[in-house]
């Protein structure tokens, strides 16, 4: 049996509100295998986003472990966690989160500028540009390279965000309701695109969604309730 590319081991997370401790995650165990496509379902407020942030090292667990390729990483120094986040995971959010001052191409390129120095980037900027344009072409935006987010539709923005998440060639993509803000036709297009790229690149994919149909197209469904997860097979 191979090691999970990303795993949570007995992860808890609680927030402090004044004197009260509010537990959100109460001991989550979750393992994501390479190339695996997992759906995460749960009622609003169940802690899905919180779990995603902890798995992506954006937030620290209160207790428990986060493991990348079997290695505990949640308590590494902040710069080290940033580097791992950059190399290991790509995020896709419900609200796209593009930088409004930058064009589609620049937003994607930003993912290449995280771990390289200015000088190193300057020397390899040609290759980076080619890679970014290639990705944008893959998501069907070859004609929108120099548009700013405000000049793009919701679906187009999400495609830019997907391209950005993929540019650093991560092993895992964490998607938090990526189609939650799109109409069903556009959403279908974005989903097809994501699934095809995921398959093609053999990415581990954790998809937070409220859509049961979408969830059923994954390898595995994980349900969150009361701060813990319960797995079940998805495909029938």
């Amino acid at each position: 049996m191979s090691t999970p590319v990303l795993a949570a081991a007995n992860v808890t997370k609680s927030y402090r509100l004044g004197k009260r401790e509010i537990p959100v995650l109460r001991g989550v165990d979750l393992a994501l295998m390479p190339g695996e496509r997992v759906a995460l379902l749960g009622a609003s407020g169940a802690g899905k986003s919180t779990l995603l942030h902890v798995l992506g090292l954006l937030d620290a667990p209160t207790s428990g472990q986060v493991l990348f390729d079997g290695r505990p990483v949640h308590d590494l120094p902040v710069a080290e966690r940033a580097r791992l986040r950059h190399e290991h995971t790509g995020f896709v959010f419900q609200f796209y989160h593009l930088i409004p001052e930058l064009t589609a191409l620049q937003n994607v390129l930003l993912a290449r500028m995280m771990a390289t120095s200015t000088l190193a980037y300057w020397r390899t900027r040609g290759a980076a540009r080619a890679a970014a344009m290639d990705l944008l072409a893959q998501v069907g935006l070859q004609d929108r390279l120099h548009h700013r987010p405000s000049e793009l539709s919701g679906g187009e923005r999400q495609r830019v965000a997907i391209a950005r998440a993929l540019l650093a060639e991560p092993k895992v993509v964490l998607a938090d309701e990526p189609t939650g803000n799109l109409d069903s036709a556009t959403a279908a297009g974005v989903v097809e695109l994501m699934f095809s790229i995921q398959q093609q690149r053999g990415l581990a994919f954790l998809l937070v969604t409220h859509n049961e149909d979408l969830a059923r197209r994954c390898d595995r469904i994980v349900r969150m309730r009361d701060g813990v997860v319960q797995g079940e097979p998805a495909r029938t």
Binding site: L58, A82, R85, E101, L110, A115, T118
Partner: protein
């Protein structure tokens, strides 16, 4: 290492947000003001110090007991190898009243009105000098010669007095005017003249007035008689002090201009013998003493500051040794110590001005802080994205720090350039403005200067430029730190 996205994003933020220009121009203005204002002020201060220096002897022995004679002090002081020359001085105060006052110009005091304006009331600090000795210690001739330039600046053509150029040393010592001049002046004043012009010999000691008195007595002409009134407290035979007044007639001999305002306003130079005689020390009386209140000293040229300080202490001891035993300590003051009140007032003013300029800089720094802080608050979502993409807190903070650095460096460069240019072309600009609009940015004549005295100090330029950049960057550190410490997860909370 600076991650590539930090400068990239900083540049985009700067270019898309015009408020950064405001911060930049704030720095530009502050730097510009610091350079221009300080250059002009430094110029003025150095001009003022030059004037004060010209008006003061290099060193002065003062705080002497009453009834001190010059000769023993001269011998003691000139025995020192550091001393080049000494000159006796007798200071007192008095009132000057020109005899001849044109009709309609009667002084207001005659209308039974008290007048406290010392120049109109004729009040003067009388400085008795021995012209021959004084010339060896202070630029006395230059003081007189400069009056012509100064009057010319006020569009008055007045040749300088020639009393110091009389070939006869005895007449020069008395500051006597040419015989014919005094004869004519007597006639003008309506005094009886029973000698023919050719046989007349000048008799009134001359008095040289500071040029700043000229506007109050514009009718005065060379040789015009002036009554000099002075009073002193003298002990009588039974020991009680008594106020005794003295009056003597002197002749107006011309003006002098040292450039030091206070000196030129108050001082009247007259032969020391005239003052001594008034105090009962007539030179023809064998019991008289060559009375002095101060001794002006010129040192040998080229002495180091250390040697000058050493000489000062030595001279003080030498002078004290010849004073009667038990006398209060006398003082030897260098030219700055003689004018310490005035000079320290000027220095305080400059410090105050620099403080005000610093406040301008503070405001500029605050603008940078406010603009960056606003940017961090508005960009908290971007900060979350950058973290999600793998940006370290340091690199995220660097985005905002770099914005501050660019604003500070550009603003400083612009301000330094403009400031230098303004300082260098200040006089041209002033003249051009005056020629085209009649306005004067810097009223030069108010200070009797040909030019606005700009003094651009390269050290100050460097200081201001580095100071501004360092200061702005320090201030930018706060918003940058705030950005670095932001919790990225908050950016992804539901909208």
């Amino acid at each position: 290492m600076i991650a590539a996205f930090s400068p990239f994003l900083a540049l985009r933020y700067l270019l898309t947000r015009r408020i950064n220009l405001l911060a930049m121009f704030g720095v530009t203005f502050a730097v510009w003001a610091m350079i221009v204002v300080n250059s002009v002020f430094t110029g003025f201060v150095s001009e003022i110090r030059t004037d004060v220096r010209r008006a003061s002897p290099e060193m002065m022995l003062t705080d002497l007991p009453l009834d001190t004679g010059y000769e023993p002090l001269r011998a003691a002081l000139e025995a020192d190898t550091a001393v080049a020359a000494t000159a006796p001085r007798l200071r007192h105060h008095g009132l000057l009243q020109p005899l001849r006052v044109p009709k309609g110009l009667q002084p207001r005091t005659e209308a039974a009105e008290l007048n406290f304006d010392h120049m109109e009331s004729g009040f003067a600090l009388l400085l008795g000098i021995d012209p021959a000795r004084e010339e060896a210690v202070t630029p006395l001739r230059q003081w007189v010669a400069r009056s012509e330039e100064v009057f010319a600046l006020h569009h008055v053509m007045l040749p300088p007095s020639t009393v110091l150029l009389d070939p006869d040393p005895d007449r020069r010592a008395q500051l006597l005017l040419p015989d014919a001049t005094e004869w004519l002046a007597r006639r003008r004043a309506g005094l009886a003249v029973d000698t023919p012009k050719s046989e007349y010999r000048s008799a009134w000691p001359g008095v040289l007035l500071g040029w700043r008195r000229a506007p109050y007595t514009p009718w005065l002409r060379e040789g015009d008689p002036i009554d000099l009134l002075t009073a002193a407290s003298v002990p009588t035979t039974d020991g009680t002090p008594q106020l005794r007044s003295h009056r003597v007639r002197v002749a107006f001999a011309g003006y002098f201009a040292t450039g030091y305002r206070a000196f030129d306003e108050t001082t009247a130079l007259l032969p020391i013998e005239t003052l001594r005689t008034m105090f009962g020390q007539d030179i023809h009386d064998p019991d008289s003493i060559d009375l002095v209140t101060d001794v002006a000293i010129r040192l040998q040229p080229g002495l180091s500051a250390h040697a000058i300080t050493a000489a000062r202490d030595r001279l003080q001891r030498a002078a004290q040794a010849v004073l009667p035993a038990g006398s209060a300590p006398c003082s030897v003051l260098d030219w700055q110590q003689q004018n310490t009140v005035f000079l320290s007032a000027v220095a305080t003013e400059q410090a105050m001005m620099q403080f005000v300029l610093f406040v301008v800089m503070l405001v500029a720094a605050f603008v940078i802080y406010a603009v960056l802080h606003m940017m961090v608050v508005q960009k908290w979502k971007d900060i979350g994205i950058l973290s999600a993409l793998g940006g370290t807190p340091r690199a995220v903070g660097a985005v905002f720090l770099l914005c501050g650095v660019v604003v500070a460096v550009l603003g400083t460069a612009l301000g330094t350039g403009l400031g230098t240019l303004s300082a260098l072309s200040l006089n041209d600009a002033n003249e051009w403005l005056f020629a085209t609009t009649g306005l004067e940015l810097f009223p030069r004549r108010l200070f009797d200067l040909q030019q606005v005295p700009v003094r651009l100090d390269p050290a100050w330029l460097v200081q201001v430029a580095t100071g501004a950049i360092v200061f702005a960057v320090l201030v930018a550190l706060f918003p940058a730190r705030k950005a670095a410490r932001m919790n990225p997860v908050q950016a992804f909370a539901h909208e």
